[in-house]
C-alpha cells in the first residue's frame, strides 16, 4: 500500500510536466488520454507492455508528439537539447552540478 508513486525521478518529471501543461490548457485531459491510449496500443502490437518503463516511454513519446503537433517544439530541437545535456553530463566532473553551457 505504501509503494512509491513513481519508481524513477524521470517518471515523476514526465508526469508532472503533462499535468502542468494540461492545467495551462495546452491540451485537455480527455485529449491526452486518447493520444496516450493510441501510443500504448501501437507499442502493444509487437509485445506485451509492462506498467513501468514501457508505460512511461509511451508517455514521453506521446508528450513529444503532442508538443510537436501543437507547434510548441520540433524534433530537431528536442534532439539537439538531448545532445546538449549528454555533453554537459560527460564534461562535468563528478560531484559538481551539471549545467548546460550557455
Amino acid at each position: 500500500m505504501d509503494e512509491p508513486a513513481f519508481s524513477e525521478p524521470w517518471h515523476a518529471q514526465a508526469f508532472a510536466m503533462t499535468i502542468h501543461l494540461s492545467k495551462q490548457g495546452v491540451f485537455s485531459w480527455p485529449e491526452w488520454a486518447e493520444k496516450f491510449g493510441a501510443t500504448l496500443a501501437a507499442h502493444g502490437l509487437s509485445r506485451e507492455l509492462d506498467g513501468g518503463e514501457d508505460y512511461y516511454n509511451a508517455w514521453i513519446e506521446t508528450l513529444e508528439t503532442v508538443l510537436i503537433d501543437a507547434q510548441l517544439t520540433e524534433t530537431a530541437a528536442i534532439t539537439q537539447m538531448i545532445e546538449d545535456w549528454r555533453e554537459a553530463y560527460l564534461s562535468t566532473p563528478h560531484g559538481q552540478p551539471v549545467k548546460l553551457s550557455a
Partner: protein, 202 residues
C-alpha cells in the same frame, strides 16, 4: 568529447531521463512550465494523495448512512465536500459490492483512475496484461490476486475513461460493528477499492 578517467564525469542519466530533461528545459525556456509548479505537483502525488483518502471515504460510507446515500447519488460532490478533488477526480462514480455483485475497475484505453482518492495507479493496473484480461477473464485475474468469489456472486467490470472514473465500495467485513471510522479505514486496502481485493476483518 574528451573523456578523462583520472577525473571521472558525472554519471550519465538513462536515455529516457535525458529526453525528459531536454523536454523540461525546452518548455521552461518557452515559459510554458515553471519548475516550482512541477515540484509542487510531484510532491502532491508522492506525499499528499494516495489510497488513504479513498479508505477514509469507504469507512465513512460504512459508518454514516447519510454520507453513503450522498456518495452513491453523486460521488464527485460527496468526496469533494471532504476535500478530495482535483485532476482525474472531476467525474467519479462509486460502485458498491454486494453479496450478489462484485465490482472491479480497469482502464482498457490507458490508465484512467480516481487520483484524488487513490493516488497514482500501481504498475500492474497500467500493464497490458491486466488491461486486457480484466474484461476477458475477470475471475482468473481475481484468482491471481488471491480473490476467489462464490459462483453465485456476479463479477461486473467497469472500464474507466477520462470522463468517468470508478471507485469500488467494498463490503464491510462482519464483526466490525464497534469499530470507529479511523479503525475501519485502516482495514481498507487500495486493491479492495479497485476490486482486486476484499476487506478482511482483523
Amino acid at each position: 568529447m574528451p573523456h578523462d578517467h583520472d577525473h571521472p564525469h558525472t554519471l550519465l542519466p538513462s536515455d529516457p531521463a535525458l529526453r525528459v530533461k531536454a523536454l523540461e528545459t525546452l518548455l521552461i525556456e518557452k515559459g510554458l512550465i515553471d519548475p516550482d509548479t512541477l515540484n509542487e505537483i510531484i510532491n502532491t502525488y508522492e506525499n499528499k494523495i494516495g489510497p488513504k483518502n479513498g479508505a477514509a471515504v469507504v469507512a465513512k460510507a460504512w459508518s454514516d448512512p447519510d454520507f453513503h446515500t450522498a456518495l452513491m447519488a453523486d460521488a464527485t460532490s460527496a468526496v469533494s465536500a471532504l476535500g478530495y478533488y482535483g485532476r482525474q477526480g472531476e467525474h467519479m462514480t462509486v460502485v458498491e459490492n454486494t453479496p450478489e455483485t462484485h465490482n472491479m475497475v480497469v482502464c482498457t484505453l490507458c490508465s484512467c483512475y480516481p487520483w484524488p482518492l487513490l493516488g497514482i495507479p500501481p504498475a500492474w493496473y497500467k500493464c497490458d496484461a491486466y488491461r486486457a484480461r480484466a474484461v476477458r477473464e475477470p475471475r482468473k485475474v481475481l484468482a491471481d490476486f488471491g480473490v476467489v468469489l462464490p459462483e453465485s456472486q456476479a463479477v461486473k467490470v467497469w472500464d474507466s475513461t477520462a470522463e468517468m472514473r470508478y471507485l469500488v465500495l467494498p463490503m464491510r467485513p462482519v464483526d466490525t460493528d464497534g469499530m470507529s471510522e479511523s479503525e475501519l479505514a485502516k482495514l481498507v486496502s487500495r486493491d479492495s477499492m479497485i476490486g482486486t481485493g476484499l476487506v478482511i476483518a482483523p
